[in-house]
Assembly symmetry: C2
Homo-oligomer: 292 residues x 2
């Protein structure tokens, strides 16, 4: 056979070059680059794992079932990306912060547009269920100056680990959601209830995979924040309860050390009365620093 | 923060260790190993590509649409595996042959169980459409000895590039399919028509990807063989027409140099009469060597 024939033929040794070599005429350089990297890493994985034909077919069927689980209200591939740490890695790469700025974490699937803008101090818990909590802090720039007119969008699960949208009819609409706007002092505060840990949806292919890997499906308790201010990068993040049983094993790897807040139990009848709480309550203080 | 806290937390630098570290309690060592490799290679790919959040979402949507295209008669994830060279790589890894044995290639989606066993020399073309062809050769062991009672299952596309199952009603059932059994001389021969190149299904996500990469969807003309004999490894392979326009660019990378046959045009009225052909015909001779 001539060398011309040999050129295009696939072998175990030259597999990457042969496959990526076919993309020479790609219309889009970025796509060509990305598919090239994915092909190379896929082939490296196959060469290291050496799957049997049956194992390859199991992988095909896993992807197929994962696809079939996706619909307008469920995204099993995002869940797969989450539990393999890919979502957090993409977040990390896209949110490398200047020194001193607050770190980001995943948006999650439970953000809702159109939550009501509330006066500072409002209680976002609309059904009085759970342990009272007061949250406060400041929105600052990296020089430590307060940012005024910062818009703070917060949402959280209730004390049973469910968001309002997961319990339509059981929780009031927009329960545990609110939007606040800072004044000249950059200060914010609102009242809520202590959130609880909860499982990611674990009745599909991803849940089954977690089970087979000996992993639990829980996310530690957290509050979500999106903070926007003119002239600054928007910050999408959480703050976490460091005493949560799952704080060191978040199923989606969203926890960062800098996002651990302190949840202090306060037993002060005078302050409770002032805050319109019945008795003891939780207090959380957390500042956020935005990058320009 | 204490070291204990730091332990489980995800960073861009330690992403692989944190994610794979969670699998310590996996029930199945093989699954743990495979998921570990896949996680590492996925993170390496993400770190090299540095996808934007939008690009990550495009990848999620590509996988989702690919899953939605799969049903009982279409497998778009296998097609994706094929065009990225993964299927051929898995084939190569599972079919490393001893020196001298014939090489394998992909089974493809068009094999049908239950094709009729025919006497040597039978014509598997049932509708007399296409250019006549006679195929012959021997089934040998690696020492060159003939193998008797080898069962040869052959199938091919017609001269328009379609298998019978793709043209139900237009082609007779079991057109261009047959099963032959060797005698003591290990010899086989049958008559057919010259097959033609054809496209893999290209109206889905994989076809769109090929288009964006500047790749065509064609497979060069070939005959499929599955050869079984007691005491030998079953061989699943093709033989290819080296003069096909797509011989150096098979969309699924199935071509190997050793699988190129010679398709000779023969203009010999006496032999044509003997073979019951009207005039000139194609002749292919190809031996297969089975590994014990």
């Amino acid at each position: 056979m001539t060398e011309a024939y040999e050129k295009g033929f696939f072998t175990e040794e030259n597999s990457v070059e042969v496959v990526t070599g076919r993309n020479a005429g790609a219309r889009d350089e970025r796509l060509k680059f990305a598919v090239g990297v994915i092909t190379r890493k896929l082939h490296e994985a196959v060469k290291e794992i050496e799957p049997t034909q049956d194992e390859w077919m199991e992988a095909i069927q896993f992807l197929t079932r994962t696809g079939h689980l996706c619909n307008e209200w469920r995204q099993e591939f995002i869940l797969l990306s989450d539990v393999l740490g890919v979502s957090m890695l993409v977040d990390a790469i896209n949110n490398r912060k200047p020194s001193g700025a607050s770190e980001s974490t995943v948006l999650g699937p439970f953000h809702v547009d159109g939550a009501p803008e509330l006066p500072m101090g409002a209680n976002i818990c609309l059904d009085a269920k759970g342990e009272d909590m007061v949250i406060s802090g400041r929105i600052l720039d990296t020089a430590g100056n307060p940012i005024s007119d910062a818009v703070i969008d917060v949402w959280q699960a209730n004390d049973e680990g469910f968001y309002d949208v997961q319990q339509k009819g059981l929780q009031p609409d927009f329960n545990l959601r609110g939007v606040f706007r800072t004044g000249a002092d950059g200060h914010y505060w609102f009242r809520a209830v202590k959130p609880k840990f909860y499982p990611i949806p674990d009745d599909g292919t991803v849940g089954k995979l977690l089970g087979a890997l000996g992993r639990h499906p829980y996310r530690p308790a957290h509050l979500h924040y999106i903070i926007k201010a003119e002239g600054f990068e928007t910050l999408t993040t959480h703050i976490f309860d460091p005493d949560d049983p799952y704080i060191n094993s978040d199923a989606v790897f969203g926890v960062k050390e800098s996002l651990l807040a302190e949840f202090r139990k306060v037993d002060d009848p005078a302050r409770a009365r002032e805050l319109k709480f019945d008795s003891w309550f939780w207090e959380v203080e957390h500042d956020f620093v935005l990058a320009r």
